[in-house]
Symmetry: C2
Subunit: 366 residues, 2 copies
């Protein structure tokens, strides 16, 4: 019988100069990377994050602490290099792409001509899903294709590890609505403070999601809730950046490109992708446990474990930017660490035959 | 009233283009670094880890899964670049120093002439603390001085952030004994599997610690347990690498050099240092939560929070090597991120005055 690459990778790690399993998560990451790339010399050195940006009609309902124009302003901030993700991706040696898949603005030529900027807008923001479907099937497909395109481009460019993040004022509301439709969690379970709404804003957010789900259930082509597809809900209450990330995740599964899912919104895209193609999970790494209150629940629902837990809740791919160097470290452990043989280090001795009572000691009182 | 640097740093972060507090731990790290370095432009770019290596007489009691000669072999492995810490420090752009403070070997000239190797051996291994004190006061002082020397050298070399790790077969037994003496935790609470002892080995370890503590209590200069100093216990049941790390931590407090404490053994050194000088805690970052079972208890006892939790239990400074780039990322957030003003990004809008009931929706049934 031929051993799988994963089994061979585990064996290779066990010959390294360390107690077996002593590098914990790093070993699990290294084995998974070997398995995805089908090699005992996995690589995660050439790294890129794509930020998908889009606006949300539902932002008109007062569900965010920030005004909608911030989406477009932040895209410019990403390109100028002053945003958190700009700083963290530079720090991690990670290329940064920004794809406009539906920002409600007309970017000037300075932005549009930037080599790392991709104009792939499906529409200037989704429709308000409280009153109508967020997007048409064609728009959803266009956004998903923008995601798939970035994955094929990454493969063509020799990227070893791709991260995805997002920017979109209002998108925690879309993500929570989508997850409420796809899981047994309630809107109350899933809605969080996003960029920092107050109690009144949080109550509004929950009400908006509850009413939107009722609306789209009652307008659904099937009366059977369970038969409504992930794609139906993505179009009804999703966002263009969520659709793009869903497309990206599905395409990485096809290309066997390891992908790092950032935070709460990107995890919602993963939930959609996994319902469309369960195998997509195999190529996904989850960067961090976000402070957005529902993220932990959703990660548990997906039965996945995040690499980091730093109490972050910013999006933009910032969690991915910190996790990707850890995954790269795991790859290097697999490739660069010496074995007991090559380093001339003695292996463990089993001493179970020794007396359980220490010798050479004074008698002690019981 | 003049604001403290920490307060000014927090204000500076709040003007960055992100919701307040959205970078979680990264913001806390950035503020602490600003406070330690007393600047709003903190730096953690020039990084170094020092591994202190030493052997332990108590290893003769069969408390480790690996033979004692591994300490010396691993020192050579560190220098050859094939150990886990070699790989991870290269990956993180971290210089690596190795200080022999008590390895039971005579290193050859090839090792001794390496520019990153420091021969500061207090003795070829501690004495077996089950039968006599591990070290003399003079040996303890010599080992502590080797730690202090590395801190002064780091300051002279312009190091921004120093990490400390260790290598020493048998040293989880010494660290557990030391912590049992300094805290209310029992030997059973504190002993763990180290490099991977089996159940019989773990029972031996607990018995050795229990008997050693009895012995050194009964030989103590004072009958009052509480009055026995941290220094007494360090000499009685500690190790040279633990003493060296204690010296290093105390010296970073004097020099105000931020220091990253690796795992369980380094945390034991921190516990000793904090009993000698409580103020030393201010300059310490705790790299990660080790898988060594007692580490979480001891971090809680010290009331500190680790940066990472990756299930690692290797020592060598490997946790520090992964945490230091995260601390560096925090410094860069403080220095490089743009503010709302400079980036032309709109700040949050307070919308508590809005109706809590969403508008523009169809009437819904109660």
């Amino acid at each position: 019988m031929t051993l799988s690459i994963a089994a061979l990778a585990a064996e290779k790690l066990d010959r390294k100069t360390k107690p077996q399993g002593a590098l914990g998560e790093l070993e699990i990451l290294a084995i998974r990377l070997s398995d995805i790339q089908q090699t005992l010399e996995p690589r995660a050195s050439k790294k890129r994050i794509v930020i998908f940006a889009a606006d949300h009609g539902v932002a008109a309902e007062g569900v965010s602490a920030f005004p909608a124009e911030v989406t477009a302003q932040m895209v410019q901030n990403f390109l100028s290099g002053g945003a958190a993700i700009s700083v963290l991706s530079r720090h991690g040696g990670i290329e940064l792409h920004i794809a406009d898949v539906g920002v409600d603005t007309v970017f000037d030529e300075h932005v549009k001509s930037a080599p790392t900027f991709f104009s792939r807008s499906a529409r200037r923001g989704t429709r308000n899903f409280l009153v109508e479907p967020a997007m048409t099937a064609a728009e959803c497909e266009a956004a998903m294709n923008a995601g798939r395109e970035q994955v094929r481009l990454a493969v063509a460019n020799g990227i070893d590890l791709l991260g995805i993040g997002e920017m979109g004022i209002g998108n925690t509301t879309a993500a929570s609505a989508l997850l409420a439709a796809l899981t047994n969690f309630s809107p109350q379970d899933l809605a969080g403070r996003g960029t920092g709404v107050d109690d009144a804003g949080l109550r509004r957010k929950i009400t908006v999601i509850e009413q939107a789900l009722k609306r789209h259930h009652s307008h659904a082509p099937s009366a059977d809730l369970k038969s409504l597809s992930a794609r139906y809900w993505l179009e009804s209450v999703g966002g263009y950046e969520i659709a793009a990330m869903t497309g990206a995740i599905l395409e990485t599964s096809v290309c066997r490109l390891p992908i790092v899912i950032d935070g709460f919104i990107a995890t919602a895209a993963a939930a959609v992708a996994f319902q469309i193609d369960a195998a997509a999970k195999e190529v996904c790494f989850f960067a961090h446990l976000s402070e957005e209150q529902a993220h932990g629940k959703v990660l548990s629902f997906l039965n996945v474990r995040p690499v980091l837990n730093l109490g972050m809740r910013l999006g933009e791919g910032t969690g991915a930017a910190l996790a990707m160097p850890v995954i790269e470290a795991a790859a290097k452990i697999m490739c660069e660490m010496s074995s007991f043989d090559s380093a001339g280090v003695s292996e463990r001795t089993e001493r179970t035959d020794m007396a359980a009572t220490p010798s050479g000691t004074e008698p002690t009182q019981p």
